[in-house]
Amino acid sequence: MLRQFQLNYRQALSETASLLCASIMLIFLVSMVIFIAFQGSQYFVPKSAYKVSITFADAREEVFYQTSALSLENVKAQFDSRYLGQFLAEPENTPEVSVQLAEEVYQVVLDSGRVHFGQFYALSSMDEPALPLSELDNLRDTVALLQISLQEAQEGRLKDLHERIAQLDRSGVATDAPARDALMLNFNRWQAHVFELDRQIQKYRMQFKQADGDLISIALNDLDYLYQPNQLTLTDKIGFTFSKIWQFVSDKPKQASTTGGVFPAIFGTILMVILMAVAVAPFGIVSAIYLHEYAPDNRLTGLIRIGISNMAAVPSVVYGVFGLGFFVYTLGGSIDELLYSNTLPSPTFGTPGLLWASLTMGLLTLPVVIVSAEEGLKRVPTGLRAGSYALGATKFETIMRVVVPMASPGMLTGVILAIARAAGEVAPLILVGAVKFAPNLPIDGEFPFVHLERQFMHLGVFIYDGAFHNQTETQSSSLMFATCMLLLIIVFLLNISAIMFRHRLRDKYERV
C-alpha cells in the first residue's frame, strides 16, 4: 500500500518536474521573442514629443524630448531618476523638472539622419524672407531643380574639364600654354556657376525655434522630412510606421549607425550566404556521397566521420582566425602577387573581404551539410538500391537516379541550416571581412559588377556593433533591437522553409 503510494508519488513528482522545466524553458523563449519584438518595434512607431523644463539652482534649461513613455508622469520620472543619480552628493541642488506636451513642435529629419525639434518660425526663399509653411512643397521642388542643374554642371562639365587639364599637365604642357589657358578659363567659369548655384540653393532655408528660444536654420536641400509628432491621426501613425519600416529595409545606416536603415547589411548578409551556399553545397553533398556510398567501411572512414562531427564543435572564432591566416593572408596575398602586383603594396584580395568571408563560413558550415546529407543518404532503403541494381543500373546510375533524389530532403535541409547558421554568425565574420560600415555595396554598376574583394556589412555584426553604442540613447538601441528582430525573422523563415522543404520532398520521395 505504502509502496504503491510511493510509486505514484514518484511518478507524479517526475511528471511535475519535467513539466516545470519544459514550461520555464518555453517562458524564457517566448519572453525573449516578445522582449525583442517590443524593443524593436519602438524604432518604427511614432513617439510623442514633450517639452521638458529643468530648473537648476542657478540655471534653467528647456529641451524638446521625444520618448515612447505614455504619460507626462513617466517622462518626469525618467528625468528625475537621471538627475537623482547625478546629484547624489548634493540632493538639495536636484533640479526641478516639469514636463508638458509639446503640441506644435515639429520633428525635422535631415538627409544625414540628424534630428531637430522646434517650432516653425520662418520659411525663406532667395528673394522672399518670410513665406507661409504651405509654400514648402513648391520651394522644395525649386531646390530640387537647382540641385539637378548643379549636379549636371559638376558631373558633366567640371569633371571633364578637370580631367583634360590634368591630362595636359601630365603630358608636360607649360602652365601658360594657350590651350591650357582656354581650358582653365572655361573651368573657372563653370566653377563660378556651380558656386552661384550652391549659393542660391543655400538661400532656401527654414527656421525653427528650439525649446530654449534659440533659432535653428536648416537649408531645404538638407531636409529629408518633417512632421508634427503630437498631431498625428491614427492613419498618419500607421502610414508613418510603414514608411519607417520601408526606410529600415531600404535605406543605409545614418549618424554612425544610430538611425536610418539596414539595407546594406541585409544585402551583404544575403550575398554572403548565397556565395557560401554555392561553395558549400556541392562540396558537402559530394563528400557525403563519397563517405556513405564509396568509402570502405573501415577505421579510417570512422575517424573521418568523427573528425567531421568534431569540426562542427570547433568554436567559430577559430574558423575566423584560420580564414584570416589562410584565406586572407596566404591565398589572398598570393593572388595579389600574381595578378595585382601593380597595385601592391595596397592589397586587393590580401585583405578581409566578401569572398574570404563566404569561404570561411562555408568551411564552418561544411560539417552541418555533410552530416545531414549523410543522414539523408542513410534513410534511403537498401531495397531500392537493390531494385535499381537488379535492373542493370551501375553504382553511379543508382546513386544519381535513385539515391540522390531520395536523399535530397536531407541534403537541402543541411544547406538551409548552414545558411541560417551563417546568417547569425558574428565572430569569424569580423575577422574576415564584415565591417560596421561599408561605403559601397559589393555589387554595383562598376566593372566587374560583383566586387568579391570588398568588405561588406552583415546583420549580426551590425547588431554587435550597435550593442556598443550608448545604451541610454533610445533611438540607437531601438535600431539595434529592430535589427535583432529582422535577423530573428530571417533565421526563423529559413528554418521554417527547411522544415517545409523536407516535408514536401519527403511526401514525394520517402513514402515507401
Partner: protein, 268 residues
Amino acid sequence: MLKLFEREILSVDEISKAQTGIDVRDLCVHLNGKLVLNNINIRIPKNKITALIGQSGCGKTTLLNSFNRMNELNRNHQCSGEVWINDRDIYNRKERISRLRTQIGMVFQRPNPFPMSIYENVCFGLRIQGETNRRKLDDSVERALKNAALWEEVRDRLFDSAMILSGGQQQRLMIARALALEPEILLLDEPTSALDPLTTLYIEELINELKKQCTLVVVTHNMQQAARVSDYAAFMHNGELIEFSDSDSLFTMPAKQQTEDYITGRYG
C-alpha cells in the same frame, strides 16, 4: 481425362544441354566469412518454373542472388565455381554485370517501387539502357504491364506515383518492371510472402503465364505454393542442395529422408 493431368515434365536427369537455362557447377559462396553455399551443382531447365525450398538461412536467396551476381553488393563476399547461362560463365572476368542483370530480372520479397510514376518505374531499366525514343518506351511499358496483368488497372493513371498502388499491384508492377527489359530469366525471391492469399493466387497465375517467355526461379516458404506452381523443385539445407527433381516426385515421393521430413513439417 488422363491427358489433363499429364504434364510435359522430363525427369531431371533427362534435361539436355539445350534445355538448360542455368547451369551451376561447384558453386561455393562465402558471405561475411561464413560458408553459405557449399558446392552446389544444379541444372535449371529453360522455360520452366523451378522452386527453391528449404528453411530460413539455408542459402536459397544466396543461390538466387548468385544467378545475377547480386551477392556482390555485399562487400565481404567470396565465391568460387561457375554459373553458365547462354553458354557463358557469368563469373568470368569479362562479364559486364549491369548487362547481365538486364538479361536476368529479379523480383524481391517486398515490393520496392521507386518513388516515381508507374510509367517511370516500368521504363527505368530501359532508360538506364539509354533508350530515349518515346514511342518505343510507350510500347515497352504497355507490353510489360500487359504481361504482368496490370495494364487494365493502371492504364488511366500511368503518371501517378507508384506508391499509391496496393501491395499486390506493386508486386505486379515489380514484375512488369523486370519484364520491360525482356529478360531470359526471372528470379523471384518469395514474391508473395507479403501478400494476402487472393493476391497470391493472382501472382501465381501470372507466374504460370510467364513460363512461355522466360525461365523462372522462385524461392518460397510456402510448400503448397511450390507444389502448385513449380515444374521442378530443389530442396536445400544448410547451404547444400539435398534434392532436385520434378515437383511431382519431390512432393509425392522424395528420395531423401531430409526432404520428406521438411515437406511433411517435421522440421523447418
